[in-house]
Structure formats: C-alpha cells, structure tokens
Symmetry: C2
Subunit: 179 residues, 2 copies
C-alpha cells in the first residue's frame, strides 16, 4: 500500500488517485468515491499501457497505435469495407478515412472501390502490410505478457471477467456510441 500523501508536492501519477478521491469526497458529499476511483484507475492504467506499447513496440517501427489497430484488424478479417473497419476498431468513419491516407502512402494498405456497392471503399493489406503486422505482433504480445505477468492466472481471469461485464453492460446501456 502507498502512503496517503496529504501534501500535493509528494504526489505522482499513481498516488494522485488517492489524493483526488479523498479531497473530492470531502468537498462534494454526493460523489461516489468507489465509482470515481474505479474510473480513474481504469483510465490511468489503460493510458499507461497504451503509451508503453506504442512507444516500445510500434513507434520504433514507424507506426502509430491507431495504425497498428487498423492493420491488425485487416490482417484478422481479410479485405474489408472501410465501414466495417471503423465499427470493429472503434473509430469513426472519418478517422478511418484519414488514417488510411497515411497507411496507403506508406504502402501498407490498398484502397479500392467495392464492387457490390460503388459508394463503399474496400481496404486490404499489401504484402508489405502482412509482413509488417506478423513480425510486429509477436513483439506486441511479448510486451503484453510483461504487463499481465504481474497478475496470477486466476487474477487475470477475474479481471477479464469483470471487464467483459462492463463492456457488455456498456453496449446495452450506452447512448453515446460512435456514428
């Protein structure tokens, strides 16, 4: 356990959560400290994780995190309409369109008018794209293992279960979804 730093100067990215919860509940009694803490921890861990994966695995290869996600998705699903890529990768269609400009310029993805619907654009990996994603995903997963390795297997299973529960509920309850 970390010390409950009362002094703002002793805080860091992590102990800030404790400080924030204590101070906020003191001033605003209607705040649910558990909800606050959960959201703070979740977003902070996720952003540290993404930052680490991006900077240790993807940027050295000249890729961004969103670029990796789109390449990975296309590798898994095969050639796909831009619309499906947006849905499965959780991006807006405009974001996919802009991102594919870069990926196409770098020779990793091709853009093609779809046959079944002349409005739609079909995206596919180039050979260079396939080579790139397969060689990089191994490194990506090794880094994932470094992170998850601090939890026991049963703990990992529990964590996955709780996150799935949040994800499923969000899907049902959520008003604000993309598009």
């Amino acid at each position: 356990m970390t010390e409950p730093a009362e002094n703002v100067d002793d805080l860091d990215f992590l102990s800030f959560v404790d400080f924030a919860v204590r101070k906020t509940t003191r001033v605003m009694p209607e705040v649910d400290p558990q909800a606050m803490r959960l959201v703070l921890e979740l977003t902070r861990v996720a952003s540290a994780l993404v930052y680490d994966l991006e900077s240790s695995v993807h940027r050295p290869q000249g890729w961004s995190w969103p670029g990796f996600r789109v390449l990975f998705m296309l590798w898994l699903s095969g050639p796909s309409d831009a619309k499906r890529v947006a849905k499965l990768s959780g991006m807006s269609r405009a974001a996919v369109s802009a991102l594919v400009n870069t990926l196409e310029r770098d020779g990793l993805v091709t853009r093609r008018r779809a046959e079944h619907d002349r409005r739609a654009v079909e995206l596919a990996l180039t050979e260079a794209g396939v080579d790139a994603i397969t060689s990089t995903y191994a490194a990506h997963n090794r880094r994932e293992q470094t992170w998850t390795g601090v939890l026991s297997k049963p703990e990992q299973t529990i964590l996955i279960g709780l996150l799935e529960k949040l994800a499923t509920a969000a899907d049902e309850l959520e008003i604000h979804t993309r598009d």
Copy 2:
C-alpha cells in the same frame, strides 16, 4: 455469454475480441491468449468509457477530455507549475503547454511566471474555471456511477484492487514513461 461468431460479418466492437483471440492463437502458437484478451478488453472498455464521458458530459460544455483533466487537477491541487500538472495528469510538458493555450484563451486558466523559478510557469484556475469544474464534476460522477453500477460493490472493490496491482507494477517495471 456471446455466441462465438465465426463469420466476420456478424462481429461488432465487442465480439471482435473473441474472434481475434481465436484466430491469432490458431496462426501464432507463441501468443499468450490470456494476455491478449486482457489487454484488448482493458483498452476497449477504457476507450468506450472515455468516449462516453467526453461526449455525454464534457463536449456539450465545450470541453475536451484532456481539458477537463487539467482543470480537475488544478482544482484539486490549487495553483501548480506546468511541470507538476504534466506529471499528475500523465501528459507531456509540450502537451500541457499546447492545451493551456486553449484553456487560457477560453478564460478558464491563467498562466504566470513562477516567482521561485523564473523558468517555470504557474497555472491557476480563474473564477470561471472553478465554477465550471464544480458544476461539471457532479454530472461526470453521475455518469461514472451509471457505468460502475453494473458491478456489485464487492466486484468494484476487486476490480479496483487488480487495476491498482497493474498500476503499481507498471510503475516499477516500466521503461517507457513520459519525459
């Protein structure tokens, strides 16, 4: 439990995780499916959560998620050097500098040369900034409660504990940190 959709066309943002894990482990046996699943779930839940909070609470007020984070931090800690704001909010100093341009223009934050060190910049909330953050944080936390409410209190406690464990370990093991 969701159906194991084998057909790519039936997938959505959520069931994509199952599909991705099955397909990847089939092709790359060295991949740890548990690590893969955990990271996918964590990043997907976090990004859905942030997207929802931003679009339902903050954008309607004319704020961005990073802008909210900085304002909230300054509200909690009082006037602070830009450096500390960067450290506690998990942003780079350049990002803070750029973001404060907007917040200052909108009259929410003031910038001042620090007395103790004439290189440093001290940031503080304006009165409008204080009003804004206090009225908005209540709505923010209500939305947090909607999300976390799908878990029981004991489940919330377990989830927080596991996330803290990840965060702490990350802090020790992590090579790639900001700055």
